[in-house]
Symmetry: C2
């Protein structure tokens, strides 16, 4: 894909425009950072989302005033970054992070149709807690009306990944501990709501750990 916006120039060896690589990173991320500009004022808001094919489905309620802006003509950008580690080199200059990052460009559209909105919200629920939705009742029409949903076609994608140890072989004899401290987002012990203190959490909850 030759889209200048999505070209990785700095550390080009870490970059690609491979959709499958990018989609795997998107699918692993729980929050995406949605950027757009209104009258030259940039905004970035964190949103929950899911990917469906070549589109992002964005759960829009946290910022309804801003999302009116999306009618399919205005550009937006959705970015996710998974931090995999801190890279501690012998010099400050060679310190780095291991990460997997994706930037998607597209023109989002607010979904008006209620049936479609309900279907897309199910995808977001499925993504956040896989396997939970069959245990839940269907959303009511009032609930669907009270939730904004945005579809953003992924017109261009840019993927950037760093992994491995510090890139400072020329200073390997410097007497400073060097290496990588892995980082990961992990689920802790579930905290049950009132009434569920003595119950075993269901399989789909345990599977989050």
């Amino acid at each position: 894909m030759s889209d200048g916006r999505a070209e990785v120039r700095r550390h080009a060896e870490r970059g690609s425009n491979d959709r499958l690589d990018g989609y795997a990173i998107l699918d692993e991320s729980l929050v995406c950072h949605l950027g757009f500009a209104v009258d030259d004022q940039p905004f970035v808001i964190p949103v929950t989302f899911a990917r469906a094919g070549d589109e992002l489905i964005i759960h829009g309620s946290p910022a309804s005033r801003l999302l009116r802006h999306f009618d399919g003509t205005n550009e937006a950008v959705a970015e996710v970054t998974i931090l995999d580690g801190l890279v501690l080199a012998r010099s400050a200059f060679n310190h780095s992070m291991n990460y997997r990052s994706v930037v998607c460009f597209g023109k989002p559209v607010v979904v008006d149709d209620l049936d479609e909105r309900a279907r897309l919200l199910d995808l977001v629920t499925d993504k956040l807690v896989p396997g939970r939705r069959p245990h839940l009742r269907q959303m009511t029409e009032k609930e669907v009306r009270g939730t904004k949903v945005i579809r953003m076609p992924i017109d261009a994608i840019s993927v950037k990944v760093r992994s491995g140890g510090p890139g400072d072989r020329e200073e390997a004899d410097v007497d400073v501990w060097a290496g990588v401290v892995p980082m990961s987002l992990v689920a802790g012990t579930p905290v049950p709501a009132d009434g569920w203190e003595d119950a075993e959490p269901p399989r789909h909850v345990k599977d989050l750990a």
Copy 2:
């Protein structure tokens, strides 16, 4: 502060413009999401950063072509979000996340002066791995020249926090496990670089865990 950009309208009870609250969240975050627009095209890039007083210090190398844009006249936005948990309610509608999120607005400036740049880069190193910098040599002039640094005064700030269990008391009798699955970013066992396999990692490395 009455700055319309920073006003939290959706779930206003979760929002504030308290700088101390926001600064604590910024200081705990390792990556920030920097948003800006160039000729109506929005961009969001993940960057490492530190906070110094009422400014963000942004390590700019990953996107040098874009950061030329910053001469103190163009608006940018820096957002961080710490995910604290998945909130599993009895209904899909009441599912949520626990999080602490900050959005900062300001007009960034690229730092030209080399001494100032070196000083600010030290702050970024101090933030990423507290206590490590005294173990490292000073940056060379060539290294400082090869690194971009941006200062962004925090002209307005918006803080949004959700915590606690699911907000679905009206459905407390529904027979579905409900509660919170805590999430946190944790450091794993350090992976030493070649030559350090048998050494005990120093205090400042162990302190990351």
